[in-house]
Symmetry: D2
Subunit: 160 residues, 4 copies
């Protein structure tokens, strides 16, 4: 199972703590972590996953694998710039968003367009024409985020 | 000056009317219209622009220019799927969003990330961590949308 | 009709002369010129086309339209890096290659994969497993290149 | 170390045998195999690598990971179509080309543009303006291909 974790390349200490805990939980559940491969939330989630022996994949915007954070096992140098945001979420069975700015918002949009479940920790809320869009599933802890992601990912791929 | 108009490939009659009026206004202001090249809002804005002698560019997701709506003068067959959403907005000095679903949301996100002004007609609202994000400039008519887009685009490119 | 002209961003004086003449001929035939939007062969072909009142489209790798050469009418800022090479040729009914290095070779490959005719002026030759691949149509002048491109493009789109 | 193996999605029995042997050798050298994730040469190299306990990454053109061949451990659903060809080679420290058609040629071009070494087994030859381009390193067996790839990749990343 592959779970994407998305968020900013610069983040608060609390977001980094959350991301690291999410990475640890995902690795302990046997899930591969996929992310954008850079710093901030992306680095923290990879560090957490590696600390528990997980596998981490970083989908980079640039042409050079050496831009990956040191906790990425498989760096993918896409060379397609921020079009790589699409690849990050489409490769996953579920997405966990932690904080995040407009790049993260584009990833949430791409995931929802493909009906990939998005679990949110202190992230964007959406409404359209004045009506709230409830597609992002709100949670309040790393453990809750991972439980929700794994259970929805299992349902999506038809096992469990 | 190039203005992007974004919205769904299937849209309500009212959204189509708005998009057509936006296309007419843009052409009358001498602006080139860029869009995703398909149906719905994209077709309506191109039809409006052509009816007033404007130039229209359609940035298609697929590999085949013949997928463009009949009012596109310059069809670009990118072959990069919905990564073309990025190209639609980054090529413009301002963006007008009309209604729209998750694809449109990804375009709004890419535009805001690049500080390209986004003018919204009955489209998404965003908030982050409970606080409203006021980046999308709300307007209530096609004329107002185009006036705002042109004036912000001029400021952006440093003339006018 | 849209014809792509491909070649290096730095080129010899002779290649620039050829490209400029190709641009002039294409404009006189009423064809829109599409290219990668940067310097060298791309700039020369746009300069030629503009001198005869043609329309020019530049498909840029970066996120910033201001990188286009001054003879591009419609700059498209794709943001997808050299993946834009694919968009340059797939948007065209025929491709004219002038000189060129590995970027040009990737464009030739993408065009041939889609059965888009490639006309070559002093460009790559291909062989596979020791057998020559005759897909690139060799010509020896700008006039011949454009005649061939237009006639093959017409056949491809089914008119003429 | 990551080595890309490129070739057609439909291939001869001999090419499949070569690709499988290349996959076995790469896994035995501890290299991760990256490829386009589909059938033919891509499936054979992954099958070989898995039979020796290697790790395999498939960079898919589409939006759906389930298109990956059954021997891919980490399927990446890029959604960017054949722009994914760029990601396949840019993520690698060396590239082994086995046979191949125009898609493979585009990958060879992207690799050479980035100075990533390309080792060829019964694949394309290039010449430019009548002069042979010797950039593709010709070998005649799977073992030789892998030895060459590993030694050049090591030199490239600066160890060994």
């Amino acid at each position: 199972m592959i779970v994407a974790v998305i968020g900013d390349s610069s983040c608060s200490a609390e977001e980094a703590r959350l991301a690291e805990a999410v990475g640890e939980e995902l690795a302990q559940c046997g899930a591969t972590v996929i992310c954008g491969g850079l710093g901030g939330v992306m680095e923290a989630v990879c560090r957490g996953a590696k600390s528990k022996g997980g596998l981490t994949v970083g989908i980079l915007p640039g042409e050079d694998s050496s831009m990956a954070n040191p906790y990425v096992d498989v760096p993918i140098a896409t060379g397609v710039g921020y079009a790589r945001n699409m690849a990050v979420v489409k490769s996953a069975e579920a997405v966990i968003a932690i904080g995040g700015s407009y790049g993260t918002l584009s990833e949430i949009a791409y995931a929802l367009k493909r009906d990939i479940p998005v679990i949110g920790l202190n992230t964007w809320s959406l409404s359209r024409n004045g009506r709230e869009d409830g597609s992002i599933i709100r949670v309040h802890s790393a453990v809750e985020a991972v439980e929700k992601a794994i259970s929805l990912a299992k349902r999506r791929v038809g096992y469990g």
